[in-house]
């Protein structure tokens, strides 16, 4: 059993990293943070996993195809929020339409949460896809095989 310390450390840290990512994600409304940072931190947890357990193991957890779907969902979450506000009668990303009755712009909070969630999903899956693509390449690939 090689790299025992690394593997145990990774196992211990994996969940807190994701928890921290979620904290940054949802705290982005009030403090530093938001989708970009949270997405990267989230991806880091899996990159750490890949470093210690090998890329194949990580791909079992998060298959590359699922990441592409997640990328699309993230972008659509973002743009969909904007389109939804358009359908509600406002302008693109006019969050106030989400809760027009609110006296203190609650819609702004809902809107930014939704959008940031989309950003987080898209960024995390994009970072992981980039990582998969770079690390998963064979040293020398035939022209037809890439």
């Amino acid at each position: 059993m090689d790299r025992l310390i690394l593997k145990v450390t990774t196992k211990i840290f994996f969940a807190p990293i994701i928890l921290f990512a979620l904290y940054v994600q949802f705290h982005g409304d009030y403090g530093p943070g938001g989708g970009f940072q949270a997405g990267v931190i989230f991806a880091v947890a899996f990159i750490l996993h890949a470093f210690c357990f090998g890329l194949e193991e990580t791909k079992k957890v998060l298959p590359p195809r699922a990441l592409i779907v997640a990328m699309v969902i993230g972008v659509l979450f973002y743009a969909g929020t904007g389109v939804a506000t358009m359908l509600l009668g406002g302008n693109f990303l006019g969050y106030d339409q989400i809760d027009p009755e609110s006296t203190h712009h609650a819609g702004q909070h809902y809107g930014i949460l939704l959008v940031e969630w989309g950003v987080g999903v898209a960024v995390a899956s994009t970072m992981l896809t980039i990582f998969y693509q770079f690390t998963g390449r064979e040293p020398d690939i035939d022209q037809e095989d890439w």
Binding site: G31, P32, G34, F36, H104, I112, I130, R137, W146
Partner: protein, 248 residues
């Protein structure tokens, strides 16, 4: 009349930016290795990030992160996100200033900064009705703000994003007039937001560049620019080109 050393030292941030910029550009142009070129490009971009961040700096200002109103305002006036409608809160002109102030410190994003300014314009009617002198006190801002202060309140809102220092000072004056002894000054968050965007763009560019470098390595077996050019010349002009060094 400042001496030239003071001139140089007082603008130290620009020197850092210029030096980094030149290092980056030099690396891009002088290095043949594609990865080194990308690193140079990153240094170059970083200098621009630093440039943006430093022009947003307000003397004595802290990072534009909401510190917490209870520390500085004692009551709910600073709570831009509170349940209290702003129209009611602004029964005293200074409160508009306080709410602007709090809103700005409250928020990181440009969007929310805009919200602060919009709120302020909503309050305009109330303030105009309740007492012009309070609105004027909102505008007791030194120097730059004086010009804007003559205009409508909407322009004070405008200034919120245009120059945080102006808005902060305007709000600050109002806050002091109402005997809130708030000392929190924040730097301009807008450059931070812009640069966050630019960083994301830069990361994307780096990723694409590195991906291309990987593919070039696979296709050519090298990432040295002169070798790549030699191989391309051979492909274009035949082996003779290699000897003579002819260029296309």
């Amino acid at each position: 009349m400042e001496s030239w050393t003071e001139f140089v030292i007082a603008r130290y941030n620009y020197w850092i930016v210029i030096v980094l910029m030149m290092i980056g550009l030099y690396t891009v142009f002088a290095r043949g290795n594609l990865v080194k070129k990308i690193v140079g490009l990153n240094i170059f971009q970083t200098s621009v990030f630093i440039f943006y961040i430093t022009i947003g700096k307000v003397a004595g200002g802290t990072a534009p992160i909401y510190i917490g109103d209870e520390l500085y305002h004692g009551d709910g006036h600073g709570d831009g996100h509170g349940d209290e409608p702003h129209g009611a809160a602004a029964d005293h002109g200074a409160d508009a200033g306080a709410s602007l102030h709090a809103k700005i410190e409250n928020d990181l994003g440009a969007n929310d900064l805009k919200a602060a300014a919009n709120d302020l314009t909503l309050d305009e009617g109330v303030i105009a009705g309740e007492g012009g002198h309070d609105a004027a006190s909102l505008h007791t801002a030194p120097d730059d703000a004086a010009k804007i202060a003559n205009e409508q309140l909407i322009d004070a809102g405008k200034s919120a994003s245009q120059g945080f220092d102006i808005a902060a000072d305007a709000a600050h004056g109002a806050v002091e007039a109402a005997a809130y002894h708030s000392e929190v000054i924040y730097t301009n968050p807008l450059p931070h937001v812009l640069i966050l965007t630019a960083i994301v763009v830069g990361v994307a560019g780096t990723a694409v560049g590195l991906a291309l470098a990987v593919r070039i390595r696979e296709a050519y077996g090298t990432i040295e620019e002169d070798e790549l050019e030699a191989m391309d010349n051979v492909a274009e002009f035949g082996a003779a080109a290699e000897a003579t060094g002819t260029r296309g």
